[in-house]
């Protein structure tokens, strides 16, 4: 079973099943409202794919993915605001600016009037920020907890910055009330379906990219860096470059997810990008299995669904539950749900080794199969390492 899932055909089959589920079954079976909700969860899942790469494979605990998510989201939101103001307002100035600001569009908003610049910036800006930060941090061999804390401080500073600039970013209200998306009316259900489908295709592409990267030489190096950075350095590779590349890819995925989040959900505010949401991205990844291909996606989707169905009816209970998830999953099952089959089989083997005599007493032991060992050696790539170095 597990060997089939890891084979080329297994992955292709899984991919096809996922595509049919997301692109055919979900749009026919779900209402327009629920489809939009699923679209939002898919945005979180795209972020999770990136985190799976950077954290699960690369060992970089990035607590600041909200920043890249926010960069993509705010760039898209600025464009939508400007386009709406041009289409419906006539004056070309977004509504909230005439309320809080000087009534003029600030200079750094201007580039995002162009749809082409916006689409490029959604990818490029988060990527460049991650590149600069990654090079600055990893080249100086700042790693582990230091990197985690810096990335968290980045998320905190970003949220504070957004809240402080009320006149140009909407402050803690954020940006909302979008009416069109590149000329398409956002109220039209068929356009909502289109947005959902774009998100679903992007998710499939992200998973595909991640799978190709994981199976490449780069993927092997990334795991090697995670497990034994010094040894990789001695072999002549530069761990900083490898880590930076993975970090940039994760940031770009988060940025694209943010840009899709804005038209689907209709609002972006500092509450979606600060310290807490940035850490919340991680729990789904951890539950699903941080170092696996599909674990982060499935984990993020199920956490988002659970949150949507629980938090509105039992808000207090949901917070306790989320806290417990962090404690139990990370504390006691670091491999996530994906490690369960391995744990069970190891337990079974352990039990069989403990009582070999009892078996022999009742009946002669069956001859051991020569060709097929009862279980393949576990793939090292999916195991979570014990981070021994401080």
């Amino acid at each position: 079973m597990s060997t089939f899932l890891q084979s080329r055909w297994g992955v292709l089959t899984g991919f096809a099943v996922g595509a049919v589920l997301l692109l055919v079954l979900a749009p026919t079976g779900l209402s327009v409202f629920n489809l939009a909700l699923l679209g939002k969860f898919i945005c979180f899942a795209i972020v999770a794919v990136g985190i799976g790469l950077a954290w699960g494979r690369g060992g970089m605990l990035t607590l600041g993915q909200g920043v890249f998510f926010g960069l993509g989201a705010y760039i898209m939101a600025m464009h939508l605001k400007l386009a709406d103001a041009f289409l419906f307002g006539g004056s070309g100035v977004p509504d909230f600016m005439s309320l809080y600001g000087s009534g003029e569009v600030p200079g750094w908003w201007e580039p995002f009037r162009s749809p082409v610049v916006t689409l490029i910036a959604v990818v490029l800006v988060p990527g460049l920020v991650a590149l600069v930060l990654g090079l600055a941090v990893f080249k100086r061999r700042v790693k582990g907890a230091y990197f985690a804390i810096l990335s968290q401080a980045l998320a905190a500073a970003f949220a504070v910055f957004l809240i402080g600039q009320q006149a140009t970013t909407g402050g803690s209200n954020g940006l909302s009330g979008f009416r069109s998306f590149f000329g398409f009316d956002l109220k039209d259900p068929s356009n909502k379906l289109m947005l959902y489908s774009i998100a679903a295709v992007v998710l499939l592409l992200a998973v595909g990219t991640s799978r190709q990267l994981m199976n490449s030489r780069f993927g092997e190096l990334l795991i090697a860096v995670r497990d034994q950075e010094e040894r990789v350095r001695f072999l002549g590779y530069d761990p900083a470059t490898i880590k930076t590349v993975a970090y940039v890819i994760a940031a770009v995925m988060a940025g694209i997810a943010g840009a899709l989040f804005v038209p689907i959900v209709g609002i972006i505010s500092p509450a979606d990008v600060g310290v807490i949401p940035s850490i919340a991205f991680l729990i789904g990844v951890a539950i699903g299995g941080r170092a696996t291909l599909l674990g982060p996606v499935l984990g993020a989707l199920s956490v988002a669904i659970a949150q949507a169905s629980l938090s509105s009816t039992f808000p207090s209970f949901w917070v306790y539950f989320q806290g417990l998830l962090f404690v139990l999953v990370i504390g006691f099952m670091p491999g996530g749900l994906a490690s369960l089959p391995g744990l069970v089989s190891r337990l079974r083997r352990h039990r069989a080794e403990q009582h070999p005599t009892e078996q022999r007493k009742t009946e002669p032991a069956p001859p051991r199969p020569i060709l097929a060992p009862e279980s393949a050696p576990p793939a090292t790539a999916t195991e979570v390492p014990e981070e021994a170095s401080r």
Partner: protein, 294 residues
């Protein structure tokens, strides 16, 4: 001139709160590699301790003096429980402790919200701490002066424990070389527990202190935890000297930046400065000299 002195003192006062919060973090991070995100919630617990004590002792002065040791005890016991139940299983996975303690932190926040309610509560400062004194023409609030003195007192106490007691010697040995300390017959297990108790207790004291300058809410800890971690990183892990310099530098710089620009730009500038500083000294102001590669 008065304005400048006032700003400098506001910075020192912010720095002294950061120092109180960061001392405990620096201890536990340095000795065990544990990144305790619930440290801010231990502060919050200390602050609520002051609130509860004041409800039963109406005299603000007495209740403050009672709250300080009690806050230490409450914070310390919370830390002890956290260490015994969760963290001691995870010393070989330092990064994961960050996420586990984050889970503990949001549980504690929600618990405080359910027990004390979402709106913030206020603790009255005693009469002898109300008012200002003049320093070179600038008014200095007495509460802030008190916090500065309290944090210096805690610092002196901690240094005394570390340098002059058998426990301190064991702690320093465990920080320098855990394996060797264990081989020499030190029970690192016991030492870890005591370190955690002291470090978390200091967070409780910090919590009592901040009730004097602001109101107490369930999310009080989140305001300080990120900055406190930045102090630890900039100062050098496990380095008391570094934490002191970094805390006061961060406090003063932040109030100067906020004064000359805005609060939000000030935060961003601080972060840029710290990333830039780590380019020069990736291990912080001071670092342990070891023969290991990392």
């Amino acid at each position: 001139m008065e304005l400048l002195i006032g700003q400098m003192f506001a910075g020192l006062s912010l720095g002294s709160v950061l120092l109180l919060a960061a001392l405990g973090l620096s201890l536990t991070f340095g000795q065990m590699g544990v990144i305790n995100m619930a440290h801010g919630e231990f502060m919050m617990a200390g602050a609520y301790t002051a609130f509860v004590v004041q409800r039963s002792i109406s005299d603000a002065g007495v209740s403050l003096l009672v709250s300080i040791p009690l806050g230490f005890l409450v914070g310390g016991l919370l830390g002890l429980v956290l260490e015994a139940v969760l963290l001691r299983r995870m010393y070989h996975r330092p990064l994961d402790t960050l996420l586990v303690t984050f889970g503990v932190a949001i549980i504690l926040q929600q618990a405080a919200r359910d027990i004390f309610g979402a709106p913030s509560v206020d603790v009255r400062a005693p009469a002898w701490l109300q008012g200002n004194i003049e320093l070179l023409g600038a008014p200095i609030p007495l509460t802030r002066l008190f916090i500065l003195l309290l944090s210096l007192l805690c610092l002196a106490g901690l240094v005394l424990v570390l340098k002059a007691t058998p426990l301190g010697r064991r702690i320093r040995a465990a920080v320098l070389n855990r394996d060797l300390a264990e081989t020499s017959g030190i029970s690192t297990r016991r030492t870890d527990q005591l370190t955690f108790f002291i470090g978390s207790g200091l967070a409780g004291v910090a919590g009592v202190a901040v009730t004097l300058i602001g109101s107490t809410g369930p999310y009080l800890g989140t305001n300080y935890i990120v900055d406190a971690f930045l102090v630890v990183v900039a100062g050098g892990v496990g380095q008391i000297k570094g934490a002191v310099i970094a805390a006061f530098a961060l406090g003063v710089l932040q109030s100067v930046f906020e004064f000359s620009t805005t609060a939000s730009i000030g935060k961003v500038l601080i972060l840029v400065l710290i990333v830039g500083f780590l380019q020069l000294r990736p291990q912080g102001i001071f670092s342990l000299k070891t023969r290991s590669l990392t």
